[in-house]
């Protein structure tokens, strides 16, 4: 941690005063005041939708504030586009990387600030400068590598190099650890401290309480577009921070009774799957899930979980291996057959796979079942049955909507997910596959989905939970399998392991099966 508690009147390099921004239907920033001191790591904490990213996008120049000022190094700044903020020494690393996969590292770094010699791009000069920065800040990147195949941790470094290439003195990191293993996150924190030691000031956006307490000098909590408070880590704890984030007491753990595992429901043997680019992303994976238990697959995104889940739910054909549900061989069968065999699938990307946004809630509730009675008779749809079904589920799952005819696209993320959960879990199911079920949701919805998952488990259903949030895995799972580079590298009981141990496995250390 940098030692700024001893120096008087620490220099303020960036200040936001009275920032207000209204988007259609949402007040994203409500009279926000925020300041950043030189050389500090200032964390901006809040749950999804709290307004953290919006504030940073305003500072970076991607949007214009309706009201308020941004002051950089003591002077009021007019920031109309990223060009202006870059010129002021502000750099931003976005949550979803702004990198072009088919370009090289050098091309990505120089984009927008290209060095040109005699009319053509001067790649050599750029490469030289990148190597210089790499050495100076310990960010080892190969300027001539194509960005697409690079591991996520390295891609993030390229993003940081991009900001330093433009002489940034203020660096904003938006949810940087969302895609990192615990070890990589530690690496990132080391880099951050190195940067601040050289006078760079960092704003670090996150929703993870533990990180914030570990690495920040100051923490500002936002909720619903407003700043709630700014505190030092030494003055607070997780419970208080969570309270500030959500506005009420939050139960940070899930109440779970001991599971009574029954027979095997899902059995996966030697599964191999290839992805869009015909690369093998799942290698020879085997595991099983029993009725009444939750098996959590931990792992950073991009280690094959997506393809694994697609293969199990029929969205992609595996190239080898076997998948059995309750004794039935369903390897490579289409989604409908697997659904009929008792699968409920809560997909990773709810707006892409789980819903048709312009259909009403009624139609979405019957999305997977429209083809059989009572929803249709001999090819003709029965609107009354659909209607009844939807109303029943909206009630039972507390979906907040003025009417069942509202199109799903108008619902909040949490309510959209509830529609999917209601649809999937209201069928007679034997197996639930939930892939990143709480991504991007507010705390209230997260709590609800967690309790539904436990309810299913207690009812004897087998649950396969795939999540990049380690806390979620540890809270809900009975057993945990870790996926790394397409293989299951460990399977343990939740009681027999620790966060650190799981983190090591997620990073590829100790490739063994417990």
């Amino acid at each position: 941690m940098s030692e700024n508690t001893t120096t008087p009147q620490e220099e303020i390099v960036l200040e936001a005063r009275g920032i207000t921004k209204q988007f259609p239907g949402v007040l994203a920033s409500d009279n926000v005041n925020f300041d950043l001191r030189k050389g500090e790591i200032h964390a901006l904490l809040g749950e999804n939708g709290a307004g953290k990213s919006t504030l940073m996008n305003l500072i970076y120049g991607l949007h214009l504030p309706d009201k308020g000022e941004i002051i950089v190094n003591g002077k009021v700044a007019t920031i109309h586009s990223p060009n202006d903020s870059i010129a002021l020494g502000i750099g931003m690393v976005h949550q979803h990387f702004m990198l072009i996969p088919v370009f090289t590292v050098a091309e990505n770094v120089m984009l927008g600030d290209e060095t040109v010699k005699n009319g053509s791009l001067d790649r050599n000069a750029v490469t030289a400068r990148i190597n210089e920065i790499s050495k100076q800040y310990g960010l080892d990147v190969d300027p001539n590598a194509l960005v697409g195949p690079l591991p996520v941790g390295i891609q993030q470094r390229v993003e940081i190099v991009k900001t330093l290439y433009r002489h940034a003195k203020i660096v904003i990191l938006d949810e940087p650890t969302a895609v990192l293993t615990p070890q990589e996150a530690e690496d990132l924190f080391r880099i951050m401290r190195d940067l601040t030691a050289r006078g760079v000031s960092i704003i670090f956006i996150t929703h993870k309480l533990k990180e914030v307490l570990a690495v920040a000098d100051r923490i500002t909590v936002m909720r619903a577009g407003r700043v709630i408070n700014t505190v030092k880590p030494s003055e607070t704890d997780s419970a208080q921070l969570a309270n500030m984030m959500v506005g009420r007491q939050v139960i940070l753990t899930v109440d779970k009774k001991d599971h009574q595992a029954a027979e095997e429901i899902l059995k996966v043997e030697g599964l191999t799957v290839r992805d869009q680019r015909d690369l093998e992303t799942v290698h020879n994976v085997s595991f099983s899930v029993r009725g009444g238990e939750v098996l959590g697959i931990a792992g950073v995104q991009g280690n094959g979980q997506t393809e694994l889940s697609e293969a199990l739910t029929g969205l992609r054909s595996p190239t080898g291996g076997k998948v059995t549900i309750d004794g039935n061989d369903l390897t490579g069968k289409p989604p409908r057959k697997i659904t009929e065999a008792g699968l409920a699938h809560i997909p990773e990307d709810r707006q892409r796979h789980g819903l048709v946004l312009s259909y009403s809630i009624i139609d979405n509730m019957a999305l997977c079942d429209y083809y059989h009675p009572p929803f249709s008779q001999r090819g003709v749809i029965q609107p009354k049955a659909l209607d009844e079904n939807a109303r029943k589920l909206i009630d039972a799952y507390d979906v907040r909507t003025p009417s069942p005819f509202v199109s799903a696209g108008k619902l909040s993320g949490g309510n959209q997910q509830k529609v999917i959960v209601a649809r999937e879990l209201s069928r007679p199911v034997k197996l639930v596959i939930a892939n990143q079920p709480t991504r991007g949701l507010d705390v209230g919805s997260i709590e609800y989905i967690h309790s539904e998952i436990i309810k299913m488990r207690d009812r004897g259903v087998a649950v396969l939970l795939i999540s990049a949030e380690l806390d979620e895995i540890m809270a809900l799972s009975d057993r945990i399998a870790v996926m790394y580079r397409g293989q299951i590298v460990a399977v343990v009981d939740v009681k027999d392991t620790t966060r650190e141990q799981l983190g090591l496995w997620m990073a590829g250390a100790h490739a063994e099966t417990a």
Binding site: I100, L111, G112
Partner: protein, 370 residues
């Protein structure tokens, strides 16, 4: 562009040329046939090359442009019309009028592209619908004006279609004739050198097309403009975050694309034949798109694919010359119908991707929302 694709192209060209040589060698020496085919191929591929380049620029920047056909058609019409006006109404000499015609054609192409840009980028209309609208508008506009301006009430031409000032001349580029001295006195050798040189005797637009292929390649892959264009077509948000004006880049590239299409239009009425007929572009704009796709959105690849189509058309033309010597078992070659279908079937075949998977720019066709 990988070897598999290039070798497929090479194979087809060899086959097409081979057929013509085999049939025609009873009438003419093979060298003469090959050089003649090559010369024709290059000339005929011109609108396809330019159309494909138009597509490359638009789509590399992220805007799908299926209105190339309509842009070519309108440009062909207004280029031809412009030449006529300059020649008959302003009394300018033929050469100048023709030059004006080319200029008008390019301008028209750019303006039609501007319309497409406004629809696609600012109004975020589905780009395929927008392109189709351009095509339909082109047909309606040229059909209407073609009738009204010459035969309508108050027409300055009083009910007749005036003759065009002419076509662009063939430029004699004495490349191989530099080697005349090597031949000494051998008449045969001189004749061969002359024959080979015919390949290089092309008209201005054809020559420009080839030059533009290489210029485009350089610009796209080695300049700041090209880097930013490609960025905007792959990941516009990323380009936006480093301060690039996505909208401006897209507009600029679409208009450039339109100008290429305009030059292609000029080929039809100013380089090929000095007259306008409704729908004279005959699908060339769409075949250009297939060439672009097959060339994996690269200028040189697209040019190679355009040459294949050009070769199939050259085959058709040469079959007419040799129709009296076609052996009976190959009489189907006489049927212009079957040979005439080649470009279309070839296009469909290429689109199946059997020859190789193609990757469009990642953000191609997606309107940019901030």
């Amino acid at each position: 562009m990988d070897w598999k694709r290039f070798s497929f192209i090479g194979l087809i060209i060899v086959v097409l040329f081979g057929v013509v040589v085999m049939v025609g060698q009873v009438k003419q020496p093979p060298l003469l046939i090959i050089t003649s085919m090559l010369a024709t191929t290059i000339a005929v591929a011109t609108p396809l090359t330019l159309g494909a380049l138009s597509g490359v620029f638009c789509e590399r920047a992220g805007v799908v442009n299926i209105g190339i056909e309509g842009m070519m058609l309108t440009a062909a019409f207004f280029g031809w019309l412009g030449g006529i006006y300059m020649f008959h109404l302003f009394g300018l000499p033929a050469g100048v009028s023709i030059a004006f015609g080319v200029f008008f054609a390019i301008l028209t192409g750019g303006l039609m592209a501007l319309l497409h840009a406004v629809l696609s980028i600012t109004f975020k209309v589905d780009q395929i619908i927008g392109g189709t609208v351009i095509n339909i508008l082109a047909v309606g506009l040229t059909g209407f004006l073609n009738r009204q301006l010459f035969f309508g009430k108050g027409s300055v031409f009083g009910g007749t279609v005036p003759g065009s000032p002419g076509v662009l001349p063939t430029i004699h580029v004495p490349i191989t004739e530099l080697f005349n001295s090597v031949c000494g006195a051998s008449a045969n050798c001189l004749q061969n050198v002359q024959a080979i040189n015919r390949v290089f005797d092309q008209k201005p637009i054809a020559i420009s097309a080839i030059l533009l292929v290489f210029i485009s390649h350089y610009v796209l892959f080695n300049t700041r403009w090209g880097l930013r264009t490609r960025a905007v077509g792959e990941h516009p948000k990323a380009a936006d975050t480093v301060g690039i004006n996505v909208v401006k880049m897209r507009y600029a590239n679409v208009i450039i694309g339109g100008m290429f299409a305009g030059l292609a239009g000029a080929y039809f009425t100013i380089e090929s034949v000095p007259s306008f007929e409704p729908l004279l572009t005959n699908g060339r704009g769409f075949i250009s798109l297939a060439a672009m796709i097959f060339g994996n959105w690269t200028p040189i690849g697209a040019w190679a694919a355009a040459l294949v189509f050009g070769a199939s058309q050259a085959l058709l033309i040469n079959m007419q010359i040799f129709r009296d010597v076609i052996p009976p078992q190959w009489s189907f070659l006489q049927e212009s119908y079957i040979v005439g279908l080649t470009p279309y079937i070839l296009t469909m075949f290429i689109l199946t991707g059997i020859i190789g998977k193609t990757t469009p720019p990642a953000a191609d066709g997606v309107p940019y929302e901030k």
